[in-house]
Symmetry: C2
Subunit: 106 residues, 2 copies
Amino acid sequence: MAMNKNSISTFGERLRTLREESQLSLRTLSGEIGIDTSLLAKIERNERQPTKEQLKQLAKYFKLDEKQLAKEVLSDQFAYRIIEEEADLDTLKVAEKKVEYLKNHK
Amino acid sequence: MAMNKNSISTFGERLRTLREESQLSLRTLSGEIGIDTSLLAKIERNERQPTKEQLKQLAKYFKLDEKQLAKEVLSDQFAYRIIEEEADLDTLKVAEKKVEYLKNHK
DNA sequence: ACTTTTGTGGACGATATTTGTCCATACCGC
DNA sequence: GCGGTATGGACAAATATCGTCCACAAAAGT
């Protein structure tokens, strides 16, 4: 379960690593950015989705690209959904084709 | 906007084609499978997501594989989400990696 | 051993989103 | 016009998600 900077992980795990590297407790970070401690903990455990607003605050605090963070969150959601529905992996490939299809035909 | 059997399309469009090929009006199909006409129309226009139950009825009626239909619906949702959020296409590729990651690490 | 700090997680009301239904409308072919 | 068709708005009902509070257990610090 160890994680280096290049390995893939969920947004929550990423956030936790970030926080720990900064030596911050949940409570203090919570105070800094104005998000309830418990909620923050849940986000780190991927039990809650961060809102755009929260994402913005986090990006700002850790000096990260907001757009990039959003991508991580979204891909998390897709991944969880696939697992939850026990769907085939290539559902994602189909989705990709559909995006192109929709962009061209609408 | 013409569509042959091999081209990709959304679930709704697929459903509409199926219905028209069977020479059924919305009302009659609606009656057959017990789904409100307006709702069915919305599903065909991808304005509503079919529930599992509705999917099952449709699969049964048109003698299609339910699992396959579910995949089409799910990939639709992903595609629409990508477009809506103006997210990068490779968000889907990242999601793919995450699915593998999650399956291996949990 | 006592106190403080830390993360977890249940409970629950508040919000937001989605669904299903009804009805009015417009369109077309006859 | 009439009968059949698809569309889409409005809205209550059902679901899902969110944010907050609080209590708890485990670890760290003294």
